[in-house]
């Protein structure tokens, strides 16, 4: 049971083509909606039934999000897809764009139909040139086939989609920063409320969903909300793409049912490379709190199981940390990332990320002070919950978790001016 939804075409030669997608049931859902004139409420209810939760990281129920929009409001309403994929460790949306772009396009059109939308934008991170070209080519194929643009399949419903390329900024994965960026500005998050469903792109009602969420929509409509929900487990409907990386034999993207044991996922990914042992796992991208390896081996890959262990499923980016890795050094790099990517708008994040990084960096380099551990505890608590967007929390959570589980490695660095691991 793998690759049943977003990566459905993967076994085909040139899976990204319209003909490949259609051979796997592609655009059947859209055709059905338009010919049978299925109501917007029915579509939204089906998505609610499916249990689909936002695949970008926050896990917010997609159907519920769609229901927030005032469908009868006059004027433009937008569907925006978040293909900014920047959470370190995540590389699944790239594969959807490269190998099954039509699933995303069909999902965006259906979403547009369901909310009374007038146009869609797909925000693709600027570095993803190959995926961008695939997506553009797929848009053209869809337009040529009458599936996209004016009067789709003669139904009277019109909806077009455009790609927007980013310029290299992690924070633009935050939905309101992404909107600012499409509007031609610095990507600095907006205050919420108002939420995008009320006041989004160009000040118009807007729904923003992750690539994987939208690419799951066609099969949910085609095969039913229950079908999708039953692929997964309670509270975590469907299957999910996991990006797994580290010193393992077969790193990559695996689309598997929610609730699959982590140990099975690790096995699918070929297990640990020879000579490496599992030490710890970051289960949902670098902002997700780290989980010790032995504890992780007991968990299943779904929202509740990972949350109970004190972390989060996030984007499904599973970073395998082996026994040759120094946790201080890894956290030094992770904290540098958030320092580098803070947009500078909120003081706790702008100052706090730099502060955390400088303290961790000096511990890593043998200049740690006895009071540094307490200092880090204190700084993380002063960032969390005190910023406009989640980047502050994303920066603080890994610091708190690394120290919680691996305090002795940090203490060893401070006391002995060297590393516990590998005699560095």
């Amino acid at each position: 049971m793998a690759n049943e939804v977003c990566l459905r075409t993967l076994h085909l030669d040139r899976p990204w083509l319209l003909s490949s997608y259609e051979s796997e049931g592609g655009y059947e859902a859209l055709r059905k909606i338009l010919t049978e004139k299925i109501s917007q409420e029915t579509i939204i209810e089906t998505v609610k039934t499916s249990g689909l939760r936002g695949r970008g990281g926050a896990g917010f129920p997609t159907g519920l999000k769609w229901s927030f929009i005032n469908r009868s409001a006059p004027g433009e309403k937008y569907i925006v897809c978040n293909s900014d994929e920047g959470e370190p460790g995540t590389f699944k949306d790239r594969d959807i764009l490269r190998y099954n772009p039509h699933a995303l396009i069909e999902g965006m059109i259906i979403a547009g139909y369901a909310i009374g939308g007038t146009a869609g934008y797909n925000y693709i991170r600027g570095e993803f040139w190959e995926p961008y070209e695939r997506f553009e080519a797929a848009l053209q194929e869809a337009r040529d086939a009458g599936l996209l643009g004016e009067n789709i399949l003669g139904s009277g419903f019109s909806f077009d989609i455009h790609a927007h390329l980013g310029g290299g900024a992690y924070v633009c994965g935050e939905e309101t920063a992404l909107l600012e960026s499409i509007e031609g500005k610095k990507g600095q998050p907006r205050f919420k409320p108002p939420f995008p469903a009320m006041f989004g792109l160009y000040g118009r009602p807007t729904i923003i969903n992750n690539t994987e969420s939208l690419a799951s929509i066609p099969d949910i409509i085609r095969q039913g909300g229950e079908w999708f929900r039953d692929l997964g487990v309670e509270n975590s409907g469907g299957s999910k793409l996991f990006s797994i990386s580290g010193n393992i034999n077969n790193p990559g993207v695996f689309e598997i049912p929610m609730g699959t044991p982590f140990s099975e996922l690790l096995e699918m990914a070929g297990g640990m490379k020879d000579g490496y042992k599992l030490k710890a796992v970051i289960p949902g991208g670098s902002s997700a709190p780290v989980i010790p390896g032995e504890q992780m081996m007991e968990l299943t890959m779904d929202y509740d199981s990972i949350a109970k262990a004190g972390s989060m499923l996030g984007s499904g980016a599973v970073i395998i940390i082996d026994d040759r890795q120094c946790m201080v050094k890894l956290l030094d790099r992770i904290s540098y990332f958030y320092y580098e990517e803070s947009c500078g708008q909120c003081t706790p994040c702008r100052e706090g990320t730099g502060w955390m990084h400088r303290v961790i960096h000096r511990i890593e380099n043998g200049q740690g002070r006895p009071e540094d551990m307490d200092l880090l505890d204190d700084v993380t608590q002063r960032i969390m919950g005190r910023t406009i967007c989640a980047l502050g929390d994303a920066a603080a959570m890994p610091v708190a978790a690394f120290i919680k589980h691996y305090r002795e490695e940090f203490q060893y660095h401070i006391d002995h001016k060297k590393c516990m691991v590998g005699g560095r």
């Binding site: 433009e76 994929e85 920047g86 959470e87 370190p88 460790g89 995540t90 590389f91 949306d93 790239r94 934008y121 991170r125 600027g126 570095e127 993803f128 040139w129 190959e130 455009h162 790609a163 927007h164 390329l165 980013g166 310029g167 290299g168 900024a169 992690y170 960026s181 499409i182 509007e183 031609g184 500005k185 610095k186 990507g187 108002p194 006041f199 160009y202 000040g203 990006s243 797994i244 990386s245 580290g246 010193n247 790193p251 990559g252 993207v253 970051i282 670098s286 980016a317 970073i319 395998i320 940390i321 082996d322 890795q325 050094k329 890894l330 790099r333 992770i334 990332f337 990517e341 947009c343």
Partner: protein, 181 residues
């Protein structure tokens, strides 16, 4: 609470836009402008900056940013804000090939330090520097979303994954032989 969402205002709009860029560049920018609502030409600023940067050997100058501002009827400061905020815009000269090496956590676990060390040794420069012949710039970048192929780097529009020192050598050898573009 009053909510506003308006494009930047510019009163002294430039009329002779055909003098700002070549017809090819203008056509390319116009393709992007057409994607957005008529009053939101500024949505094309990121694309316009990328297009003129590529055309200028990989970096932006103040003059080019000013032209982009004039072309899109934006205040110049608004264009500088964008150009300085996003990491893919270069504000000083770079080499013919910009090597963007990921050193983030997955790449680090899989040995990106060895790749950086190898690159620095072979090119005789450090991260953030350009070779004297202007051929290569070495840039450290954040996660590029290809961790399944770690360690990796990007040169131009191309990703190179599962790097080893030998593979790095063969990639650089072929780029060195290529004098064109």
């Amino acid at each position: 609470m009053s909510l506003r969402c308006e494009p930047w205002a510019r009163t002294d709009k430039r009329e002779d836009k055909e003098n700002l860029f070549s017809p090819e560049i203008r056509a390319e920018i116009d393709q992007w402008v057409a994607k957005y609502p008529d009053e939101w030409k500024q949505s094309a600023v990121m694309a316009a900056l990328r297009i003129v940067q590529d055309d200028n050997g990989g970096y932006l100058t103040e003059e080019l940013m000013d032209r982009v501002a004039d072309y899109l009827d934006m205040p110049r400061i608004a264009v500088y804000e964008v150009a300085t905020f996003y990491s893919m815009y270069e504000l000083s000269e770079v080499g013919q090939h910009k090597i963007c090496v990921c050193t983030n956590v997955s790449c680090m676990i899989c040995g990106s330090e060895n790749i950086v060390e190898h690159l620095e040794k072979r090119l005789g420069i450090k991260l953030g520097e350009t070779t004297e012949d202007g051929k290569f710039t070495l840039k450290e970048v954040e996660c590029l979303g290809a961790c399944g192929g770690a360690p990796m780097f990007q040169i131009g529009k191309q990703y190179y994954e599962n790097l080893t020192p030998e593979l790095v050598d063969s990639i650089l050898d072929s780029l060195e032989q290529d004098n064109g573009e």
